[in-house]
């Protein structure tokens, strides 16, 4: 993008060319005040750099004299505060962009990087971004849809909602202002069931944060998906600390200490099963980066999520504790007689439970093996009075 577009950023441009349609921005007094404060905090001649230009305090001159483009080919010196205001007002888009990221967003690395990523602030020019923000820049984060816009004062505003509610008028959704209200939104799924894993793809819709500032937008997203932005940031910086299965299980203690005994030096197939059961994209939106150990990758896919999973989570550790006990049992041979359709029906039932499809199977759809009437028929036919499948006791010798 050529420099002249920056100067034109304060006026709406629509000449039918390919130039972006940049909104008119009024330089707010808080942004101008922040520039003056920042200049005061700097040594004379040490410039503040905006996109396309810089300003500095004059070297030896009386206080209050400023210089535009001090090191450029055509510096303008001897500017009064009023002159400076005029010059910055002509470049209000670049100045408000500086103000948003240097002051409103603040220094905290993850928040700053995330909000810059939303509008590709490290790749696109101010002019291109302001034009895009005027239309609304949309980003996905898990099941969230984030729409960033800019006001005529250059402030960023964010609409955060479930992606499934894209395009729904705000008035048709439950609207919230306080990002911490997201704690209630994420607690239960659409069927009212508790969500112990916040990154499970079961976020309920029907709500919206229609008008968040930058800090609140970050807070809302980190509340819906805790620590996902901070880990995404560490990964971008090349500093993601992955803790693999073996080291994670080795540090467990108390009732979870037993899980380390599941690793018996007989390969990592059991961990493949855990990852397939719990970490698939259908179960969790994080992209699994942990493996069996540093040198042994798991054989199942880690998923396509935007944000990484850096170690087995507490849900996986708890489930692994159960599997450690169950998998310590020795297999036995049981003899049942099933018709071919009954064998397939058992498989259908397991599939339906594992894929969370039970509620989709229609009441009278007896073609489905996991249909309730079909399952009740199978139970009536094959279970004895003690509930033993095929009438075969679990412990035929009465052993434990």
């Amino acid at each position: 993008m050529a420099d002249p577009t920056v100067d034109a950023a304060s006026e709406a441009v629509d000449d039918g060319s390919d130039e972006p349609d940049i909104p008119a921005i009024d330089l707010p007094s808080d942004a101008f005040g922040a520039v003056l404060d920042a200049l005061d905090d700097r040594d004379p001649n040490e410039p503040i750099r905006f996109e396309g230009f810089a300003v500095a305090r004059a070297d030896t001159a009386a206080a209050g004299e400023y210089c535009l483009d001090p090191t450029g080919a055509d510096p303008r010196t001897g500017l009064s505060e009023r002159d400076l205001h005029e010059a910055l007002a002509d470049r209000a888009a670049a100045v408000t962009d500086w103000y948003v990221f240097e002051r409103a967003v603040g220094e905290f690395g993850p928040r700053r990087a995330f909000l810059r990523w939303i509008e590709d602030a490290d790749g696109e020019t101010v002019a291109a971004r302001y034009a895009a923000l005027a239309e609304g820049i949309e980003r996905a984060w898990g099941e969230l849809k984030i729409t960033a816009t800019v006001t005529d004062r250059g402030e960023r505003r964010y609409d955060v909602r479930h992606a499934a509610d894209a395009g729904v008028p705000v008035g048709d959704l439950d609207a919230y202002e306080d990002p911490l209200d997201a704690r209630d939104i994420v607690s239960l799924d659409a069927k009212g069931r508790y969500r112990p894993l916040k990154t499970a793809p079961s976020l309920a819709g029907g709500w919206v944060f229609p008008d968040l500032g930058p800090r609140d937008a970050y807070e809302a997203i980190e509340t819906v998906y805790p620590a996902t932005v901070v880990n995404w940031y560490r990964e971008r910086e090349g500093e993601l600390d992955v803790s693999h299965w073996r080291e994670t299980m080795a540090r467990q203690s108390g009732i979870y200490g037993v899980v380390k005994t599941w690793d018996r030096g007989e390969g990592h197939e059991h961990v493949n099963w855990v990852a397939e059961a719990c970490c698939d994209d259908s179960q969790c939106l994080k992209r699994r980066e942990w493996q069996y150990d540093e040198g042994t990758d798991l054989d199942v896919d880690g998923g396509d999520g935007l944000f990484p999973c850096r170690e087995p989570c507490s849900v996986v550790v708890s489930a692994a504790r159960k599997w450690t006990r169950l998998e310590s049992e020795r297999p036995r041979t049981y003899e049942f007689e099933l018709t071919p359709s009954e064998k397939e029906q058992v498989e259908d039932i397991i599939d339906a439970v594992a894929d969370g499809r039970i509620n989709e199977i229609r009441e009278a759809d007896t073609k489905e093996g996991a249909n309730r009437y079909r399952a009740r028929f199978l139970r009536a036919k094959l279970f004895d009075d003690e509930g033993n499948f095929g009438g075969v006791p679990t412990d035929p010798d009465g052993e434990e």
Binding site: S253, C313, S314, V315
Partner: protein
């Protein structure tokens, strides 16, 4: 920049488990004493392992929302927060006197003040009394009332009983209630026999638990005989064997708990301004006037 991190157990099964943690965090946030107030959990998110990386401040106070010193406060939390060089001797505690240890959290490369649990702080005594006021609706409750402070007992951790006895003794010394007893779920004197231990017609039963859940909503009400089956519910008070039992539910849900969290941070050096007074005022029991 001063940050508070409240760490609590949380639950994979009970959606209400984190509610007291969030409520107290909100109360403290409203005082403005900290630039940020974060929450981290063992069973929810952000996990202990990742909560510190969400923290922006350079003065970080970590307060465990746990009732006693023991496995969680001494092993699990320091390990998961990656407190470099942690050893339980840092607290130099007799099981009740843990105050704070300042250690570098490897996760963020900054020092954090790791505080003792809320349950053993002397201010917790006031919360138990306040809980009795709340459940009876009487800010002056005490005369002609007994108070039972109930805990797990020593099954897994001897410090659990120490905390119960500590607070029961302190309340007894105030001569406010006619009788004060420490009772337990898994050892003598057992809460199941509560009426046998009190002469008073009215007894407030305050369980020293952080959140309402299985123990406070199912176990204790059934064991004490407030109901046959917790799903039927029970009245407050309910008469059992001639004693009217005012069952308070988990003490950790009492709004004044926010005060104990602040006290822990203050003991570790946090600058709180008027926050302590503010919280004591805003969480008071209405007199009904």
């Amino acid at each position: 920049m001063q940050s508070l991190v409240i760490v609590a157990h949380g639950s994979h099964l009970n959606p209400g488990s984190s509610a007291p943690t969030y409520d107290h965090a909100d109360t403290i946030r409203a005082t403005g004493a900290f630039d940020e107030v974060k929450t981290g959990f063992w069973k929810e998110e952000p996990h202990f392992r990742e909560v510190l990386r969400t923290v922006e401040g350079d003065e970080v106070y970590v307060v465990p929302l746990f009732v006693s010193e023991g496995y969680f406060t001494e092993q699990v939390i320091p390990r998961e927060l990656r407190l470099d060089g942690w050893d339980v001797s840092e607290w130099d505690s007799d099981g009740l006197s843990a105050d704070q240890a300042t250690l570098v959290a490897e996760d963020i490369g900054r020092a954090v003040h790791y505080c003792g649990p809320v349950g053993t702080h002397r201010a917790m005594t006031d919360v138990i009394v306040r809980r009795a006021e709340s459940v009876t609706g009487d800010p002056d409750v005490g005369e002609e009332f007994g108070l039972a402070v109930v805990g797990h007992g020593t099954e897994r951790n001897e410090n659990s009983a120490k905390a119960i006895e500590y607070h029961a003794d302190r309340i007894r010394d105030r001569d406010r209630f006619d009788e004060v007893r420490a009772l337990y779920m898994d050892e003598d004197p057992e809460v199941d026999d509560l009426p046998e231990f009190f002469e008073s017609d009215d007894v407030v039963l305050v369980p020293l638990f952080i959140a309402d859940g299985y123990h406070t909503q199912e176990d204790i009400p059934e064991d004490v005989g407030l109901c046959e089956d917790h799903r039927q519910g029970y009245d407050v008070p309910t008469e059992v064997d001639g004693t009217r039992i005012w069952y308070a539910g988990a003490v950790g849900t009492e709004p004044l708990m926010a005060d104990v969290i602040l006290e822990r941070a203050a003991d570790a050096g946090a600058d709180l301004g008027t926050a302590l007074d503010d919280v004591r005022e805003t969480t008071r029991v209405a007199t009904g006037d």
